[in-house]
């Protein structure tokens, strides 16, 4: 690697870097280690175990699935443009609705947060790679494999049409015959394995691979967020695997787990499903909290406010998150006093979440705030994720939840959490680390346009859903009462604007790689108090990250 020249930035490594071929490959200088013959560049990517390349592959895969899932959402909105519309058959509508959620959760948001984890976590810890590089590659490749399994169902008699929750008896063979649900279950198995493998890898990386002086209380808040997330992945995901396995056996081997006619109980599925799927929400949001905790101080030029409270509030959220699953089952008809336990724990989660929100604002207070695109997305995150957090506290209250359960109020809540929260935070991370990934600067003006289009269309699309739910429109319906038509049309048009606005990401990547100004190690001019290790090394970093292991002050 003696040919390496860190001082000359411009080593580009993006999958579409063909135009910049030479740069892409001297950054990695393959063909040298252990005297391997020089490999084809594509094979280089297929065989890579470099955490940064795997991170980039995760991000590409998740963004493509984000667009696929978005297209499915738009199909749903087309059907809902009129009260009793026949644009889609109701069965195809249900497939679109189901796969929109499944793709967004399993193939877009979770792989995207894992992508940033891969890209950044070892750099923040001062490590040269993750603990198990091959296992890391396995975790990545399982995602496109799962994507193929999910998508193949469209060509073999139709995808699952039971909602991403796949409650039996509707998901049982009697009511959902065909291959769709079986393929859905196997897809979940594959992404679940990916999630467990990724979680294990990050736990060991954090516990075992911190550079000298990086104690647990000194590592970045992004690492803290991932520490909690990976515990959740390892603890909760196997239970989902167990639940869907039981569903699979009920469908194909005639067991009686969830089939009431043979002595099973559909409600058990709900317990097991939500034991994973509530923590899954935190798997999707905690790493994003981590991103925000890096970006806000970086652009406020001020040290994060309340480091330890933010770190331990993640721990509290993770711990409580494992104990609240039955709050998704308030309308199922369980004993109200039994449910009270889950209600109280759910409400308690508002406290650590509030601590984070307030601490971020306090970080800005007294800083010198620069409004670059990553910061704008973070501000959008804080401003609108709060709405999702507050509606979450409202639906923790059992009587109110029973009223709005299964309605558009819930749809509004999850989209404020997963779009205004996760997706917007992920876009902040994208803009923040794009110069680090490519060695070039993106187009700031278009970035800000992206931000404004996203914010306005997002709120116009999701906020009115609250009213629909309160007024009486159930979710997952292909037909609805005529009085809701106007609001649904506002939502529909805004959704199209929102979807099209996300294509700006393609433009940004193209512009950055082709025309972006070359940047040095630290394009954001971090204040010393906010500077993590990745900003000390070249952009993009060399394959081994650190020639000399860094030491924390």
């Amino acid at each position: 690697m003696s040919t390496h020249d860190h001082s000359a930035p411009g080593h580009v490594h993006g999958p579409d870097c063909n135009h910049d071929h030479d740069h892409a490959h001297d950054a990695y200088g393959h063909g040298d280690g252990h005297g391997h013959a020089k490999r084809h560049p594509i094979l280089d990517w297929l065989m890579t175990t470099d955490h940064k390349r795997i991170g980039i592959m995760y991000l590409w895969t998740s963004f493509i699935f984000f667009l696929v899932g978005g297209a499915m959402a738009l199909a749903v909105r087309v059907q809902l443009m009129h009260a009793n519309n026949n644009a889609l058959t109701p069965d195809f509508f249900n497939q679109m609705m189901t796969m929109h959620a499944s793709v967004m959760i399993f193939l877009a948001i979770i792989p995207a947060v894992t992508g940033f984890g891969n890209l950044v976590l070892p750099l923040h810890l001062g490590a040269r790679d993750v603990a198990f590089p091959r296992l890391n590659a396995l975790g990545y490749w399982l995602v496109p494999a799962a994507g193929l399994v999910f998508m193949s169902s469209f060509f073999l008699g139709g995808a699952s049409a039971n909602g991403w929750t796949a409650y039996p008896p509707l998901a049982n063979a009697q009511y959902s015959p065909g291959m769709g649900v079986d393929l859905w279950i196997f897809g979940v198995h594959l992404v679940g394995t990916s999630s467990i493998v990724g979680g294990l890898n990050f736990i060991v990386t954090i516990f075992n691979m911190r550079a000298p002086g990086v104690t647990l209380h000194k590592m970045s808040l992004f690492c803290w967020a991932w520490l909690v997330t990976s515990w959740l992945q390892v603890i909760a995901t196997p239970v989902l695997a167990g639940a869907v396995t039981m569903l699979l056996l009920d469908r194909n081997l005639g067991t009686s787990f969830f089939r009431p006619e043979t002595g099973g109980d559909p409600i058990l599925f709900q317990h097991l499903f939500w034991f994973y799927s509530h923590p899954a929400v935190y798997i999707m949001i905690l790493p994003v909290f981590g991103i925000v905790s890096q970006v806000v101080p970086a652009f406020s030029k001020k040290r994060i406010f309340g480091y330890l409270p933010i770190a331990y509030s993640s721990v509290a959220i993770g711990f409580f998150g494992l104990l609240v699953w039955a709050h998704h089952m308030f309308a199922t008809g369980l004993n109200p006093w039994f449910l009270t336990f889950f209600m109280i724990i759910t409400m308690l989660i508002a406290v650590p979440t509030g601590i984070k929100i307030f601490s971020w604002i306090a970080t800005m207070w007294g800083g010198v705030i620069e409004f670059k695109t990553p910061m704008l997305f973070c501000i959008g995150f804080i401003a609108f994720f709060t709405i999702g957090g507050l509606s979450g506290t409202m639906i923790a209250s059992i009587p109110f939840d029973i009223q709005v359960s299964g309605t558009y109020f819930i749809v509004a809540h999850i989209h404020y959490v997963l779009f205004a929260g996760s997706s917007v935070g992920l876009l902040a991370g994208f803009y923040y680390w794009l110069p680090k990934m490519t060695g070039r600067m993106y187009h700031e003006g278009i970035g800000q346009l992206h931000f404004w289009l996203t914010m306005v269309s997002m709120n116009l699309a999701f906020f009115p859903m609250h009213f629909l739910g309160l007024q009486g429109m159930p979710r997952r319906v292909a037909y609805y009462a005529p009085q809701f038509e106007t609001i649904n049309q506002i939502i529909g048009y805004s959704a199209f604007v929102m979807g099209i606005a996300q294509l700006i990401v393609f433009f940004q990547i193209y512009y950055t790689l082709k025309h972006g100004a070359r940047v040095g190690a630290d394009p954001w001019n971090h204040h010393p108090d906010t500077k993590t290790f990745e900003w000390e090394i070249a952009s993009p970093p060399p394959p081994y990250n650190f020639e000399t292991l860094p030491v924390a002050r």
Partner: protein
């Protein structure tokens, strides 16, 4: 370093204003109800409304506080053009941290007050209710029963025609369930096939109906009126068309309606509360010899007839009246009941269907054609494209194999003898042979 200047204060103000106002634009004008919430018409609905109002005000207060603090921080500490200013270096403040931990706690406690009132109401199931209403969710309609009054009623799926009906009109009334006002009802709910959810927003009430589980909730409607609701748990393709229409009326009107909806025979209450499905089937082989058990109704007292394997087949399927007759006339009479509870929702009370979704049975080639084909449709369901009386349909009918051979024979015989159809009767043995 930066290629663009920081935003001007004017742009910043626009940013703040848009962020705060965007969600509310136009929405307020579109909806008249206070905070977009429906007017509650039950004592419990009042409590839910109170809970909602408490929370929404606290929520709005917190939201405004957070947004103002955020905007204040952004405006006050933005980097101005050509400004040279050192950022502050502090990074914690114990008092502040205690305040923003404790205040949310207090607000949560405030939220809990109306919440617990609602919980107490829900948990207080009347021991001897004035009247019992039983609700059975089915794909894609509701079966209602007043067991004490011996009355039954089946809801209609939404069609293009009945979606346009005005509340309170004669036709609307005809497809609405009547409820007496001012009486404390016990509602017992279960599902016959998949999970549904019975939701009437004005009652502040929703209950999922899970097969194999029976749930009881108290209900008292205090205000006469016409109320609409919907199934709010995904139950298949026509989930969105599974309407609920309820007319709350005074005692005299209610009695009149009951008289018009008497069931031909006595109604058995569904089953005992709780897990009606958790009956263990016997694993031993010889038990299958006694095959007659398909029409064993689930015992009312919850005595699980565990020894008979048949008792465990679809407990809720046996909600349909037991049939043990073979005479074609009697079969057709029984078939009428089965039809009303299982078929009328989609195929219409007079066999007209609900075009363009569900085909008619009156004059349908499939009804009057081959016996075996008709029985197969009933046993295995039918999905995909199908032409009935020259019109194309493309939807899915679930298999009806949870009905007994007698019930299926009865309903086929009834359909073949009604509305101008002219097929010959079908016997339970024929069904048995195709099963």
């Amino acid at each position: 370093m930066s290629q663009h200047n920081n935003p001007r204060p004017g742009r910043l103000a626009a940013f703040a204003a848009t962020m705060l106002a965007a969600p509310f634009v136009g929405a307020d004008a579109a909806l008249a109800a206070p905070f977009w919430y429906v007017d509650p018409v039950t004592p419990y609905g009042e409590i839910v409304n109170q809970t909602y109002q408490t929370m929404v005000w606290i929520g709005i207060f917190i939201l405004i506080f957070v947004e103002l603090a955020l905007v204040a921080a952004l405006v006050k500490f933005r980097k101005r053009k050509d400004e040279v200013r050192e950022p502050e270096t502090w990074s914690h403040n114990t008092t502040l941290e205690i305040v923003w931990t404790v205040i949310p706690f207090i607000m949560l406690i405030i939220i809990c007050i109306p919440t617990f009132k609602g919980l107490a109401y829900l948990a207080d199931i009347p021991k001897s209710p004035e009247l019992t209403l039983e609700v059975v969710g089915r794909q894609f309609f509701w079966e209602y029963r007043y067991p004490e009054l011996n009355a039954t009623f089946t809801s209609a799926m939404r069609t293009e025609a009945n979606a346009k009906l005005e509340k309170g009109g004669k036709d609307w009334d005809a497809i609405a369930l009547y409820l007496p006002i001012g009486r404390k009802l016990l509602v017992r709910l279960t599902g016959a096939d998949v999970i549904h959810s019975w939701w009437i927003p004005a009652f502040g009430l929703q209950q999922m109906t899970t097969p194999g589980n029976l749930v009881q909730i108290p209900l008292e409607v205090t205000k006469p009126g016409d109320y609409e609701g919907a199934c709010s748990y995904l139950c298949g393709p026509y989930h969105g068309a599974m309407d609920i229409k309820i007319k709350a009326v005074d005692a005299a009107t209610f009695d009149g309606w009951i008289a018009a909806h008497k069931a031909p025979g006595p109604i058995e209450p569904i089953a005992k509360v709780g897990k009606i499905g958790m009956v263990a089937p016997a694993p031993v082989k010889p038990a299958h010899g006694a095959a007659g058990g398909e029409h064993a109704a689930v015992p009312a007292g919850g005595e699980h007839a565990a020894a008979s394997p048949a008792a465990s087949t679809a407990p809720v399927a046996s909600v349909a009246p037991a049939v043990a007759v073979v005479d074609p006339k009697a079969l057709a009479a029984k078939g009428q009941e089965v039809f009303a509870s299982r078929c009328a929702g989609c195929h219409g009370a007079t066999g007209g269907g609900t075009p363009p979704m569900f085909p008619p049975l009156a004059g349908a080639e499939q009804v009057n054609g081959s016996d075996d084909d008709l029985i197969d449709i009933l046993l295995k369901g039918k999905s995909g494209e199908i032409t009935v009386k020259g019109q194309k349909y493309n939807s899915a009918m679930p298999p009806q194999d949870s009905l007994s051979n007698e019930e299926l024979a009865a309903v086929s015989t009834y359909v073949r003898a009604s509305w101008g159809n002219n097929g010959k009767p079908i016997t339970p043995d024929q069904v048995k042979a195709r099963r």
